[in-house]
C-alpha cells in the first residue's frame, strides 16, 4: 500500500481530470456515470423545488394579505382582515446578525491568528479542535444555555451599558426585565458563528506564503508587524468570505433565538429593550398557533429568509472562488 504518498505541502488542488477519451463505453460505466450525474442533477432539482414550493405557498399567503407584506408592523394572519408584514422581522434579523458580526469577526480573527501564529505548535491542533467543538454543540443547547444561564448573567452588563452608554439611545434601556433582547441574541449568535469564521480564517492564514513572512522577519519586524504586513493583507478576502459564511448562519439561526428572545411586533431602536423578532424565531414561535393560512404566511417569511441567505452565501462563495485562483498562482 503506497497509496497515501502525497507530495508535501501541496494544497488540495483538483487533480487534472483523468483521461476522458478512455475505453469504449461499457454498460457498467454508463450506469455508474448516469447514477452519479443523476444525483448531481437531483441536488439542483431539490434546490429549484425548494424555491418553487416556497414561492407557490408564499404567493397564496401574499395574495390573501390585507396589509403590506414589507411595511406592516404586525403579524396577524388569523385576524380579520388578515394582515402580516416582515418589517420587524427583517430589522430584527439584520440587527442581531450585525451585532453578532461586530463581536465575532474580530474575536474569530484573533483566535485564528492565535492558532496559526501564536500558540505553541504542539497546542495548535488541539486548540483548533476545541474551537471546532463549539460548532458541534446543537443550537437548542445554546438556546437553553442562553435563556437559563446567559440571560441572568447579562442583566448586570445591560444596566451598566444603560447607565454609561445610555446617551447613545441604542443602549438606552427604557424598561426593566430580563435581558431577553436583540443584544443578548447578538452575543449568543456571535458565540455560535465563532467556530466557522475562525476555521475558515485559520485555513487562509496558514496558506500565507512562508517567504513573505520570513522576508518581513529578516527585516527586523516584530511578530505583530509580520502579521500586519504580510498575513492580514493576504488573508483579507478570506476573512471577508468567512464572515459572510458566519453571517449566513446567524441569519437563519432558529432555536437559540426562539428560546432567548422575548418577541414582540413593536419596532424599537433600543437594543436593550425586550422585543423584536427574527424570521426564523417568528416561524418557530408562531407555527404552533397557525392555521393553514398562517402557515402559508410563515412560509412567505421563510422565502424571504431563503433568498437572503442565498445571496449572502452565494456572495461568500464567489469571493472564496476568486481567491482560490489567486492563491493558486502564488503558492
Amino acid at each position: 500500500m503506497t497509496t497515501t504518498v502525497i507530495p508535501p505541502d501541496s494544497p488540495p488542488s483538483p487533480p487534472p481530470p483523468p483521461p476522458a477519451k478512455a475505453t469504449p463505453t461499457r454498460p457498467g460505466d454508463k450506469i455508474f456515470r448516469g447514477l452519479s450525474r443523476g444525483s448531481g442533477i437531483l441536488l439542483l432539482v431539490v434546490m429549484a423545488s425548494i424555491a418553487a414550493f416556497l414561492t407557490f405557498r408564499a404567493a397564496i399567503a401574499i395574495s390573501g394579505n390585507e396589509g403590506n407584506f414589507f411595511t406592516t408592523f404586525d403579524w396577524d394572519p388569523a385576524g380579520n382582515p388578515p394582515v402580516f408584514g416582515i418589517a420587524v422581522l427583517l430589522y430584527g434579523t439584520v440587527v442581531s446578525s450585525v451585532i453578532a458580526m461586530v463581536i465575532a469577526v474580530p474575536v474569530a480573527v484573533g483566535i485564528a491568528l492565535f492558532i496559526s501564529h501564536y500558540a505553541p505548535r504542539r497546542l495548535a491542533s488541539p486548540l483548533a479542535y476545541v474551537v471546532d467543538l463549539l460548532a458541534a454543540v446543537p443550537s437548542i443547547i445554546y438556546g437553553i444555555w442562553g435563556a437559563l444561564f446567559l440571560v441572568p448573567y447579562l442583566g448586570g452588563l445591560n444596566s451598566w451599558l444603560d447607565s454609561y452608554l445610555g446617551w447613545t439611545l441604542i443602549f438606552d434601556k427604557t424598561e426593566i426585565g430580563p435581558a431577553r433582547n436583540l443584544f443578548t441574541v447578538g452575543i449568543l449568535l456571535a458565540i455560535m458563528i465563532l467556530p466557522i469564521v475562525t476555521s475558515v480564517s485559520r485555513e487562509v492564514f496558514l496558506q500565507v506564503p512562508k517567504m513573505n513572512e520570513e522576508a518581513a522577519l529578516a527585516l527586523g519586524a516584530t511578530r505583530w508587524e509580520v502579521i500586519r504586513l504580510s498575513v492580514l493583507p493576504f488573508g483579507r478576502s478570506g476573512v471577508i468570505s468567512a464572515s459572510m459564511l458566519g453571517l449566513g448562519r446567524a441569519l437563519g439561526e432558529t432555536m437559540a433565538v426562539a428560546t432567548v428572545l422575548s418577541p414582540s411586533f413593536l419596532f424599537s431602536g433600543h437594543l436593550l429593550d425586550a422585543g423584536g423578532g427574527t424570521f426564523a424565531q417568528n416561524i418557530a414561535a408562531k407555527f404552533d398557533e397557525a392555521n393553514e393560512f398562517g402557515r402559508d404566511a410563515l412560509i412567505a417569511s421563510g422565502l424571504v429568509l431563503f433568498v437572503l441567505t442565498l445571496l449572502v452565501n452565494g456572495a461568500a462563495r464567489l469571493i472564496i472562488a476568486r481567491r482560490k485562483e489567486y492563491s493558486g498562482a502564488n503558492a
Binding site: 497515501t4 502525497i6 505541502d9 475505453t23 448531481g40 483566535i111 444555555w145 402557515r295 431563503f306
Partner: protein, 358 residues
C-alpha cells in the same frame, strides 16, 4: 503556558529575531504579573461598584491588562515592541473569550444534566407523566432521533457520495460548475427553511406528520456536507492510482469503486459522521414536521414521533423545575452523542490521514 508562548523561541514563525540585543526587555514573568495585577484591580473595582455581572469583571480585567502592558512595554522597550505585546495580548484574550462560553456551557450541561440522568431516564418515555411532575424519560426521543437520523443518512450518504464522485471523476462544464456552486449555497440553507419546504409539500399533498418527513428535511441539510467532505477526500487520491488501474484495462466505474473510494474511505467516513453529528442536533425541521409525541413510536413512517432536540425544546417550554432538569439531562445525552461522533470521526480521520509530513 502563557509564559512559554510569550517568549520568542516557541513561536511557530521561524528564525527568531533578537531585539533583546538592541534594548531592554521586560522580564519574562511580566505578562503573568500584569495579568494578576489587572485581575485583582478588576475584582476590586467590581466589588466597589457592586456589579453583579462577572462578565463585566472579566472585561475590565482584560482592558486593564492590555493598557498596563502597553504602558509598561512602551516605557521600557519602545512603541514597536509595545504594539507587538498589545497584539499578543489581544490574541490571547480572544482565545480565552472563545473558551469561556464553551467551558461554561459544558459545565452547566453536565452539572445540571447529571441530576436526573440515570438508567430509568434512558429507558422510559414521557407517557402519562405530567410536565410539571418529576419522572419520565427520554427513550421515545432517543428512538426518534436514531431513526430519523438513520433514515436521513440512508438517503443523504449515497446521494452525496455519488454527487461527489460525479464532480471529481466526471464533472466538466456548466452542469458540474452549477452543482458545485449550489452545493456550496445549499450548505448555508437555514434548517428552518428546509423544514418549511417539506411543510409546503405536506400542505400541498395533505400528508401527515411523521418521522420520515423530518428525516427528509435532515437529508437536505446533510447532503451538501457529505458532498463537500467527500469531494475533498477524492481529490486527495493520487492520480497515479487511477491511471494504473485504467491502464490495466479496468473499467472506470470499477476503478472508482475498487480503487478510488477504498483509498478515501477513512476521510469519507469522517465526513459522513460529522454530517450526522450536525443534523442530530437540528430542532427546527423536527418541530415543523414530526408533531412531537410523549409515547414510544418505533415506526418512523407512520404517526407522530419525538426527537432529542425537540424533547429539549418541549421540556424547556413546560417551564417547571422538573422539566428543566429533564431538558438538561436530554441536552447532556445529545451533547454526548454528538461529541462522541465527533471524536470518533476525527479519530478515524487522523488514523487514516495521508501522511503528508506536516
Amino acid at each position: 503556558m502563557s509564559q512559554a508562548t510569550m517568549t520568542k523561541d516557541t513561536a511557530p514563525t521561524p528564525a527568531p529575531v533578537a531585539p533583546s540585543l538592541a534594548g531592554k526587555r521586560l522580564p519574562r514573568w511580566s505578562p503573568i504579573g500584569f495579568g494578576a495585577l489587572s485581575l485583582a484591580l478588576a475584582v476590586g473595582v467590581g466589588l466597589a461598584a457592586d456589579w453583579q455581572s462577572k462578565v463585566q469583571w472579566g472585561l475590565i480585567a482584560a482592558i486593564l491588562f492590555v493598557v498596563l502592558t502597553f504602558i509598561a512595554s512602551s516605557a521600557v522597550e519602545g512603541t514597536r515592541q509595545a504594539k507587538d505585546r498589545v497584539a499578543t495580548s489581544f490574541v490571547w484574550v480572544c482565545f480565552l473569550l472563545a473558551i469561556i462560553p464553551l467551558a461554561s456551557l459544558l459545565w452547566v450541561t453536565v452539572s445540571r444534566g447529571l441530576k436526573v440522568l440515570d438508567g430509568y431516564f434512558l429507558t422510559h418515555s414521557m407517557a402519562g407523566v405530567p410536565g410539571f411532575e418529576v419522572g419520565g424519560g427520554v427513550y421515545h426521543a432517543l428512538i426518534g432521533t436514531l431513526e430519523q437520523v438513520g433514515l436521513a443518512t440512508l438517503i443523504a450518504a449515497p446521494v452525496g457520495l455519488l454527487t461527489a464522485v460525479y464532480l471529481v471523476e466526471y464533472g466538466k462544464g456548466t452542469l458540474a460548475k452549477a452543482v458545485t456552486f449550489f452545493v456550496d449555497v445549499m450548505t448555508g440553507i437555514p434548517s428552518i427553511v428546509a423544514g418549511l419546504f417539506l411543510l409546503s409539500i405536506m400542505l400541498m399533498f395533505n400528508l401527515q406528520p411523521s418521522g420520515f418527513m423530518g428525516a427528509l428535511a435532515l437529508a437536505i441539510l446533510m447532503v451538501p456536507v457529505v458532498v463537500r467532505s467527500t469531494e475533498e477526500m477524492l481529490k486527495l487520491v493520487p492520480n497515479e492510482l487511477r491511471e494504473a488501474s485504467l491502464a490495466l484495462g479496468v473499467p472506470k466505474w470499477r476503478t472508482i469503486l475498487k480503487v478510488v473510494l477504498p483509498t478515501a474511505v477513512g476521510g469519507i467516513t469522517t465526513g459522513v459522521m460529522l454530517a450526522i453529528a450536525r443534523i442530530a442536533g437540528e430542532t427546527a425541521p423536527i418541530m415543523l414536521l414530526v408533531f412531537g409525541s410523549q409515547l414510544i413510536n418505533t415506526n418512523p413512517f407512520d404517526g407522530a414521533q419525538s426527537s432529542l432536540p425537540f424533547y429539549i425544546w418541549e421540556q424547556y417550554r413546560v417551564g417547571s423545575e422538573a422539566s428543566y432538569d429533564r431538558a438538561w439531562a436530554a441536552a447532556l445525552v445529545l451533547i454526548a452523542f454528538v461529541m462522541i461522533l465527533n471524536l470518533v470521526a476525527r479519530g478515524i480521520a487522523r488514523w487514516k490521514a495521508p501522511k503528508t509530513g506536516r
